[in-house]
């Protein structure tokens, strides 16, 4: 049997129209052999949790450049948990000020990435996170 495919949902919550980073990261993950579901712009946390449920993903990756991360991220986490998806690993990227990082990590984000991130590193981190979860 072949190795189990890692499934990732890449989502952009809120009204943020910056989608380059999300697309770059999604493509890098595909090129790393993952199955990446992209849901497009302007998703509510509830829509994101719903898509994660239907697609049974291992990882949810949020891309936020709007500054609304402190409101959106906890809501996504709450909605995922409410659906019973407690084992999904949450990744976050975009413009996240230094001061907010620790709080978000404490709330359950696995790792946070800013501008200039090497996507190979992201893929490596995802593989590690999924492996240690199994």
């Amino acid at each position: 049997m072949t190795e189990k495919k890692i499934r990732v949902l890449i989502a952009k919550p809120g009204l943020d129209g910056h989608d380059r980073g999300a697309k770059v990261v999604a493509r890098a993950m595909r090129d790393d052999g993952m199955e990446v579901i992209y849901t497009g712009l302007r998703q509510t946390p509830e829509m994101i949790a719903e898509a994660a449920l239907q697609e049974d993903v291992d990882v949810v990756g949020l891309s936020i450049l709007s500054g609304a991360h402190n409101a959106l991220v906890p809501q996504v986490i709450a909605d995922l948990r409410a659906n019973g998806q407690t084992d999904v690993v949450l990744f976050l990227g975009g413009i996240i000020p230094e001061d907010d990082i620790q709080t978000l990590l404490d709330q359950g984000v696995y790792k946070i990435y800013g501008p200039g991130t090497d996507t190979r590193e992201v893929c490596k981190d995802i593989r590690e996170a999924v492996k240690s979860k199994a």
């Binding site: 595909r30 052999g33 239907q54 019973g84």
Partner: protein, 344 residues
């Protein structure tokens, strides 16, 4: 897979359903066991295939159809399986069909599942049929299956769907349709989407000519293409033939969707009345059993017959010492003797 999670699926628990879909897709032992049990509860869903060239608007059309089906038949749940290609180089995939289906997110009676083709070439993934069976058992009355963007030879969907919809778009200028005759022949319904663009009526005319040509041919052969499904059917001479209707839609504006839905439901009624529903079901079961039989026969063979024997026979054949047929006879004899021994 515990029986608790199967019960949860039967009760409509969507997380349980989603997890079982993954197990089945990944062909784990638990997934296979679940599928064996759930298969006995299948047989009521109407499976609708949507195929056509890349970018013709399949996902947008599925979005509109799912909404219209839910409006017309509110007591039925709708499942969507959207297949996109895996990269042959990395095995990864970008599954983007959901982007066009955002209208459906707030309806909990609709369940969308994206699937990577994982190397299969016929426009579906190996396990697409299996996933459709899980949805069927979970009580989804309509199952919409979007294939990989197909041009010509990706026609596997026809073996799975009761109703196959082929989507095309208006041709540009004087070039003919992007669509190939081979894929037209699998259509139960033809759709010219993006009918807001110039040339839609010409496309309809073109397709009608193509269909009538193919239809005349199949009548002359005393055979409609649907009969390919029926190796052993009693319904050989279904009296009323289905001539594929051709409809115009503007999927992104929900235009033509009510008419299309009407035709889809009519097709289901036609299949049931003509006995072809039953025949299609039987053909797909036959194909399924055949596939599994071949796989397990091969597995048995590989267990019984040492690779060394196969290799030495290959060499013998390559030296032109014996024919390939002779080699096969030797292998089959060996296999037979060996499996007899082991079963004693």
């Amino acid at each position: 897979m515990t029986s608790a999670s199967l019960d949860a699926l039967r009760k409509g628990n969507r997380l349980a359903l989603s997890r079982i879909l993954s197990q089945v897709e990944n062909r784990t032992d638990a997934g296979q066991a679940a599928l064996e049990e759930l298969f006995l509860e299948t047989g009521s869903a109407h499976k609708i295939g949507i195929t056509g060239p890349p970018g013709s608007g399949k996902s947008t059309l599925v979005n509109a159809l799912a909404r219209e089906l839910r409006r017309r038949e509110p007591e039925q749940k709708v499942a969507i399986i959207a297949v996109d290609p895996s990269s042959p180089f990395t095995g990864g995939a970008l599954l983007g069909d959901r982007v066009r289906m955002l209208d459906l997110q707030d309806d909990k009676q609709i369940f969308i599942r994206s699937m990577a083709s994982r190397g299969a070439l016929g426009g579906l993934a190996e396990q697409t049929e299996a996933l459709s069976q899980v949805f069927d058992a979970a009580g989804y009355g309509f199952i919409l299956i979007e294939t990989v963007g197909a041009g010509q030879s990706e026609v596997d969907v026809v073996n799975l769907a009761h109703t196959t919809i082929v989507v095309d778009t208006p041709g540009t200028g004087d070039d003919i349709q992007s669509i190939k005759a081979g894929i037209l022949e699998i259509a139960d319904i033809l759709v010219v989407n993006k009918a807001d663009r110039p040339g839609a009526d010409q496309s309809v005319t073109y397709l009608r000519n193509m269909v009538e040509m193919g239809y005349a041919r199949s009548i002359n052969n005393g055979k409609h293409h649907l009969e390919d499904f029926r190796e052993n059917s009693e319904h050989e001479t279904a009296s009323a033939h289905w001539v594929p209707p051709i409809l115009k839609t503007v999927a992104c504006e929900f235009k033509g969707i009510q008419e299309l839905t009407e035709v889809i439901l009519n097709h289901a009624a036609y299949l049931r009345e003509s006995g072809q529903w039953h025949a299609k079901d039987q053909a797909s079961i036959r194909a399924n059993i055949r596939r599994q039989l071949i796989a397990s026969l091969l597995k048995d063979f590989n267990q019984n017959v040492p690779a060394d024997l196969v290799n030495s026979l290959v060499e013998e054949v390559q030296k032109r010492g014996i024919s390939p047929n002779e080699a096969v006879r030797v292998l089959l004899t060996y296999n037979r003797n060996n499996s007899l021994e082991s079963s004693e």
